[in-house]
């Protein structure tokens, strides 16, 4: 009887651990990409703005992957012979887009919208982590529903001024909590509304 109870509890603990593990969530797992693109180099090293490549982040649901032409604005001039960039040149020549592996992919039944998050002052770093320190791209957060809800139930600690949304190094002022609350006010965030099912599932 005790053994049975212990094995049930053990199963639940192990099962609960597995679904939360990086193995299941793919958090911090570097994904294979056609070209080993370095955000660290392009963001921290060269100082590109997020929106230079992810052009639609402010007005549409998806942030958008850059077309090959965006890469070629520079790489038609520099590193034109680099073997690592061969897939990019091939893509341009044949007119077939690069097939990047989507790192922060949400299930289809989640109607996630980038533009509203940007407009309400959720920084890129909040969900995607310090991409300026990532030589290769990985998921910075588990993307579990409980992670979404943590913020939807209490968004204030994760807000920043709109101007700082694309800032990789912004830190909140000393009284972070009160500051977050003023932002909730300023951006008219209806917190009670954020946990309705239809906010994310239609």
């Amino acid at each position: 009887m005790i053994a049975a109870a212990a094995s049930v509890v053990g199963l639940l603990v192990v099962g609960g651990g597995v679904v939360r593990s990086d193995y299941m969530t793919r958090q911090d797992v570097v994904r294979e990409q056609p070209v080993p693109f370095s955000h660290q180099h392009h963001v921290a090293g060269l100082g590109l703005d997020c929106r230079y490549c992810h052009t639609s982040v402010e007005e549409s649901a998806t942030a958008g992957f850059p077309p090959t032409h965006t890469c070629m604005t520079c790489h038609s001039q520099i590193w034109t012979d680099a073997p690592l960039l061969e897939p990019v040149r091939k893509s341009l020549a044949t007119g077939t887009p690069l097939r990047w592996t989507w790192v922060n992919k949400l299930p289809q039944f989640v109607y996630f919208n980038h533009s509203i998050h940007v407009a309400k002052g959720v920084g890129c770093v909040t969900c995607h982590g310090r991409v300026d320190t990532m030589p290769l791209m990985r998921r910075a957060q588990p993307l579990l529903m409980q992670w979404c809800l943590d913020c939807h139930r209490n968004p204030a600690p994760n807000l920043r001024p709109r101007e700082a949304v694309f800032d990789m190094t912004w830190t909140p002022p000393a009284d972070a909590e009160a500051f977050g609350k003023t932002l909730v006010e300023r951006y008219h965030i209806d917190v009670g509304n954020l946990t309705h099912c239809y906010i994310c599932h239609r």
């Binding site: 679904v19 939360r20 579990l144 529903m145 409980q146 809800l149 943590d150």
Partner: protein, 461 residues
């Protein structure tokens, strides 16, 4: 029942005819050890296995293709699956009632019936438990109904009867299994001791958990058994009230009425006793157990059947009365629609099969006639299925707006689930009569013992 004796001393008053204790064990324990009707058993098992296979195919195809293979569509989103569910879980009610409630009330006559009634309950609840899961759009997420700390940071909606139903059902199934098994232990030990083959000795030896029949064993067993019985009785009420609430909490005409919980519990008991009566008749005939399941047992079963049937018919009348008395046009139109609408056949089938046929049980000759009792039991069981069908479909197919009226026609896959679960029920029951003592030997002997003492006292006076 007690004063029947003083009124008519000539009547066959004993529950059981006097017989040696050994003959009880011989009659019952020998069935699993030296099964008498192997050929017929095999044919029956094979036939029911065929239907069980149909169930497997139906569920497999359902999981592959989704609930679109059923006849359900807007506005009838509950079809045969829910009707079957309510029907099965209702049939399961009688076993616990006979075993637990009558045990606590010291109704000794239950001792010849409780074992197979409990088995019937278990198998019926098992069939019932499938439907809530398979009728989900994504059945592999059935565990979302349970409250557990999940990565979605969500709990089930505790205000919903759907969640209450999950609790009521799971607990009912668990307690039924435990109660059934505890009641079996002393008998399993008897079969173990009588077994000659090594296989039988090991099989029944393991199952009987080292039972030696010492006074300490009996004392603990009795305490456990009665505690389980006391736990099981309220569950009989909660499980079917929960089912009723699935309907009556919804704000739909024909469903939203306060009489539903007691009406459902009584209907469940009614249909369950119908099945128990049928099984009793078949088993006593097949295995010649007339001296253990006597005509007095049949008589008592018939009386309970009659009583619960009359209360259920009261439910029908009050349901109709409330609909009329409410003055609500939607309630009234649903009521009239049940009498005369497209699905009136299901309403009148329920009324005729449940209540018209039942009136035969006012006569003792009918109550004590196995064939007639069997037929009435079958009629009630079928009638209650029609009632479930009527309740589910007639409310849904006429929604509030005529623009959202629709039809429900069950498809082949709907029917194959019903046929399949019936097949599974028989399959499990065939295994049960073959491998386990189908009547509680030691409890029958208790009754015999009491009757002997009484007989001796009567002689010495």
């Amino acid at each position: 029942m007690a004063d029947e004796r003083s009124v008519n001393p000539q009547a066959p008053t004993e529950t059981l005819p006097l017989q040696p204790y050994g003959s009880v064990s011989d009659q019952i324990a020998m069935i699993p050890l030296h099964y008498p009707l192997r050929r017929r058993w095999l044919i029956g098992l094979a036939a029911s296995a065929l239907f069980t296979l149909l169930l497997v195919v139906a569920i497999g195809y359902l999981f592959y293709a989704g609930v679109g293979i059923w006849g359900i569509n807007s506005p009838v989103f509950w079809g045969l699956a829910i009707a079957n569910y309510v029907w099965w879980i209702g049939l399961g009610n009688a076993g616990t009632l006979i075993s637990a409630l009558l045990l606590l009330l010291s109704q000794q006559w239950r001792n010849s019936l409780n074992r197979f009634a409990e088995a019937m309950t278990l198998f019926a609840v098992f069939c019932a438990a499938m439907f809530p899961i398979i009728h989900l759009g994504r059945p592999w997420f059935f565990y979302w109904l349970l409250p557990y700390p999940n990565v979605m940071a969500l709990w089930p909606q505790f205000r919903s009867p759907l969640v209450w139903d999950v609790f009521a059902n799971v607990i009912y199934l668990l307690v039924s299994i435990i109660f059934f098994y505890i009641g079996l232990i002393p008998d399993l030990a008897t079969v173990r001791d009588k077994a000659r083959g090594r296989l039988g000795q090991v099989f029944f030896g393991v199952l009987s958990l080292g039972w030696r029949g010492s006074a300490a064993h009996w004392q603990r067993w009795r305490r456990t058994y009665r505690i389980c019985a006391a736990l099981a009785v309220p569950l009989v009420v909660s499980v079917h009230s929960g089912v009723a609430m699935l309907f009556s909490v919804g704000q739909l005409a024909g469903w939203q009425t306060t009489i539903f919980p007691p009406y459902f519990v009584m209907g469940a008991m009614f249909s369950g006793f119908g099945v128990v009566a049928m099984i009793a008749v078949v088993l006593r005939h097949t295995f010649r157990l007339d001296s253990l399941v006597t005509t007095r047992h049949l008589d008592l079963l018939a009386k309970v059947l009659l009583a619960s049937g009359l209360i259920t018919s009261y439910g029908y009348i009050m349901d109709a009365f409330t609909a009329w008395y409410s003055g609500d046009p939607f309630e009234r139109s649903t009521l009239i629609d049940r009498f005369t609408g497209a699905y009136a056949w299901s309403y009148w089938s329920a009324v005729i099969l449940n209540f018209v046929v039942l009136q035969g049980l006012w006569f003792e000759a009918v109550r004590r006639n196995p064939v007639l009792l069997f037929l009435i039991g079958a009629s009630v069981t079928t009638g209650m299925w029609f009632e479930r069908y009527m309740l589910v479909v007639t409310t849904l197919y006429h929604d509030f707006l005529p623009s959202s009226w629709g039809w429900y026609v069950a498809t082949f896959w709907d029917w194959s689930l019903l046929a399949g679960t019936i097949g599974l029920f028989f399959f499990l029951f065939f295994l049960f009569v073959r491998f386990l003592p189908m009547i509680s030997m030691f409890e029958v002997k208790e009754v015999l013992r009491e009757e002997r003492v009484e007989a001796r006292n009567a002689r010495s006076q």
